[in-house]
Point group: none
DNA sequence: AATGAATGAGTTTTCATTCAT
DNA sequence: TATGAATGAAAACTCATTCAT
């Protein structure tokens, strides 16, 4: 009798529950760090009981992994979208890419740091399978094909461009100069352009 | 024979004890990760009692911080030394710097990762107060004074050069291509040079 | 037979568990002192795991605080009950109150000492927000309204009456003369009565 | 050679060193409580090394005991002195005694609490060997001999007078009304007088 | 007498995970 | 599926005390 009424609201679609848990975890990890966040806090944030967490994730580490996947996908989509939307020259595309990177990164640095900076011996690979780099490589290659620039090692160049942008944004952040995004984007674009322009 | 050496005083100069503890901690952290290493293991490794650890460090975190300092200093000394030892042109100095960076980093990646990859909200500053960057800035400014190149924002440029090198080495490492250091140094040097050469 | 009772759920109503923990703690504290009792012993006494203690109390200190609350409430209830049950004159009520105080205190000295004798800077207030005093104040005021006595400072008087009783019982206890409760009650009552009778 | 010069200032008369240690301990105990004070802090306060502490006291508890002795002596001397200095009637002496008690207590409550409130099963005796009570008893007996008042149980009365005064001062302290010592002394004296005046 | 580095037993506390309901 | 009380292993850290100098 009472069963029909009670059952309903408690059970949500698995996907939804899982997302809610991930959202709660992400917010807390970003606020206090991974190690400093307890499962107890995550479930509190998601409004479920302790045990429920373990129906969706095998361990605390697993949520972090899931979060990482989600972040990578989102970042790549955003940057790739900006490049695709640009119908100018290759240099224009490069500029669009730099701008998208800076903005996407700035918008989500904390999250970025969270999902990437957990040291465990031998997780270096993560950074390089970086989809933004992959996307950059593609663009560099196409641009090269079109004669926009010449590159000895496209992948390494992409990685260095990415590293340069990364460093610039980190610097801006640590100096509280990230608010002036235009200047930042300007500096990065200028640097990238130079780096790709072989001195005659 | 050895008796005389062994017998002498359980008490050692503070500096020595501290270093022994740091060495033991560093070895363990690099082997199993920071979180997975217990203070109990560290003191066992250093051959002292639990309490002794706490006469030299306030907490486990503090050793990591000390290790970071030690790493940074060593890295900077190495790079600065290489630049100072180069008596060629500014471009030569730049090259010497790039080479020293790549080599120093490659020689101590594991340690580098250990001391830098622990995410805690708001430790971002560390990277930018990076003494290698500071050293680079100095060099860039002097080089600019000497007319070797022209820079709009020296610090940001230095930071991007550093980021580029960092990314390149990370990439090489993750692809197991770090063995061919010459190529790597070559790629970095070429990239740096371009980045500093304003396209006319 | 007994199986049904025993088997049922390792989980007990929160209130019950909490009380069991408090009981175990109280017994041990009274036997060996607060500092000399470890949480390990408490949980052993209560038949639960270490962690369970911390589901109910934030720290060892918190149990002591809870014990104090419980003691104070019990004491007040007992005294207030005795006064309410007395339907004689105001002097009779005063006498009932004195008697109840002496008896209640004598019955639980050890516990009293346990919960009150832990010196920590600034816990003095506890004594004065003493609900027995509050109850005494009420009685004194009502009695005054009824013309039983006249008081310049009711609260201070209540506090002094309480102090007098407290001192008398402490004295009796330390001299092992507490067995003769009648005499003790007599002395306290006589003293209280005098103290409230303004010499004409 | 160098011995003569170096030795001098380091070694102080034992008595002095001991006092310095007691002073340092007392200050710290009063500020943060006995348990919360470490031997390390005591020796720091006294400006000596860890080991020195143990040349003068066998343990941390022993300092507290020494402090208690010192407090008791000082308090008794002060009250007894005030009574002796009063050459009026017995009621005057009583008044002088009450005043001295209140003042001495107010001046050293924290210390009083420190040395008396440390609960360990069975240290109740301490309070009753209270020298002020003993002194009060003497005065009450003499006054009774001189016909100033009549008492059934002098010691118990003394103890109750002491308890009353104690309660009054505690109350004043917890209400921050201790500054107005005159009123406080007045209330206590009035109460004491009444308590000693048998209602005809 | 004085030192202070070293000790290490002992304690509190945390928290990821389980499991009976 | 959801719950949340219970678990208990594991860890960090403290500090009174010792003792070689």
């Amino acid at each position: 009798m009472t069963t029909t009424t009670t059952k309903r609201s408690r059970t949500k679609p698995a996907e939804v529950r899982r997302d809610e848990l991930m959202d709660a975890a992400q917010a807390l990890f970003m606020e206090k760090g991974f190690a400093a966040t307890s499962v107890a806090e995550i479930v509190e944030g998601a409004g479920v009981a302790k045990g429920t967490f373990y129906t969706y994730f095998q361990s605390k580490d697993e949520v972090l992994a899931a979060l990482r996947e989600r972040f990578i996908e989102g970042f790549r989509d955003r940057v790739a979208g900006a490049v695709d939307a640009c119908h100018g020259s290759w240099m224009d595309k490069l500029e669009a890419c730099a701008e998208a990177c800076v903005n996407a990164y700035l918008d989500e640095v904390v999250l970025h740091d969270l999902v990437f900076h957990q040291y465990q011996p031998g997780n270096r690979a993560l950074k390089s399978e970086n989809p933004v780099v992959t996307c950059l490589v593609g663009m560099l290659r196409e641009g090269e094909g079109a004669g926009a620039w010449r590159l000895v090692t496209p992948r390494l160049t992409a990685v260095m461009l990415f590293g340069a942008f990364h460093g610039a944004v980190d610097e801006a952040l640590s100096r509280d100069e990230a608010a002036d995004r235009a200047s930042l984007v300007g500096a990065v674009v200028r640097f990238w352009r130079n780096a790709l322009t072989t001195a005659a």
